[in-house]
């Protein structure tokens, strides 16, 4: 039986998902998860949260904004104190 409490499990959750826990800690966490449905759900849904965000591509810049940006850079480069 796992010696971890759910609070202790939760404190390690991020490092576990990032694969930054020691091997013995990982084994203990997985043992707890196998015995605790709530903590299993926490891991599964947090993992899905991260996966959904990672798939999110940034929007392209609106064209007028892009043009203003390029114009500002061009002006800066041409100015006497440019770079």
């Amino acid at each position: 039986m796992s010696l971890l409490t759910c609070d202790q499990f939760l404190q390690e959750l991020s490092d576990y998902l990032d694969e930054e826990v020691r091997e013995d800690v990982r084994r203990e966490l997985e043992k707890h998860m196998a015995e605790c449905p709530n903590c299993w759900v926490m891991v599964d849904t947090t993992k899905k949260t991260l996966s959904i965000y990672k798939k999110l591509e940034p929007d392209p810049l609106p064209e007028p904004l892009k043009q203003r940006l390029m114009h500002a850079i061009q002006t800066k480069i041409k100015s006497p104190e440019g770079g």
């Binding site: 939760l10 490092d15 926490m42 599964d44 041409k78």
Partner: protein
């Protein structure tokens, strides 16, 4: 040098613009006055810098100013960039500083310092436990999904929001995030945990399995 950069800049939008895959080469060329190379660096990161600025300032006008000023500063201080860090991490640090400056101007006295000690208080928060579908995002159109995800991030406190964006959306390492925000690695880790758990909670109501309307609390 400036004249040379200016002359070459006019080529930046021409069809003859070479595409460099190696970032080190792009930076070296930009430093040597090749404006087309600098433009390629801008185009590589403009969307991510704008998204970052938009999330921090939560204001379109400020985000546009941050985007522009960040790249102008990067161009001006290109020789200060230390090759041992990633160019994007250096750029993020400039953009974060620019964003914070605007926040302070807009909300004087209300801004939370980034290095402030905070109670992440995981143990005191009641958490909704409900199973999600395997691909819960497929329930929504791309536009709806984007709105749900962005609103959830924007509802986080700034100190949690910034760590989450850099670490989990922009995929900087923990150390890079710490450097970009000028906070410690343990501070990044504790804020990231809190941000991830809060977002998970907020998204549960959109993504939980339909039959799971009865849920437990931890």
């Amino acid at each position: 040098m400036i004249k040379a950069r200016a002359d070459r800049f006019s080529m930046a939008h021409s069809s003859t613009q070479p595409a460099y895959s190696d970032e080190g080469e792009l930076i070296a060329r930009a430093r040597a006055g090749d404006a087309a190379a600098f433009t390629q660096l801008v185009e590589r990161y403009e969307r991510r810098i704008y998204r970052l600025a938009r999330h921090i300032t939560q204001n379109d006008e400020d985000a546009e100013d941050v985007l522009q000023d960040s790249f102008l500063k990067a161009f001006q201080h290109l020789n200060d960039f230390q090759e041992q860090s990633r160019f994007y991490t250096w750029l993020v640090r400039i953009a974060v500083n620019e964003s914070l400056m605007r926040l302070r101007k807009r909300k004087p006295g209300r801004f939370v310092s980034l290095d402030e000690e905070i109670d992440t208080g995981e143990e005191t928060v009641a958490r909704e436990i409900a199973v999600w579908d395997d691909n819960p995002e497929q329930r929504y159109s791309q536009q709806e999904l984007r709105q749900i995800l962005m609103q959830a991030v924007d509802s986080l406190s700034p100190i949690f929001r910034m760590v989450f964006i850099l670490r989990d959306i922009d995929e900087l390492s923990t150390e890079e995030t710490a450097r970009a925000l000028n906070i410690s690695v343990p501070a990044v880790k504790s804020r990231l945990l809190r941000a991830r758990l809060e977002l998970r909670d907020r998204l549960t109501r959109f993504f939980k399995r339909k039959a799971d309307d009865v849920f437990a609390y931890m």
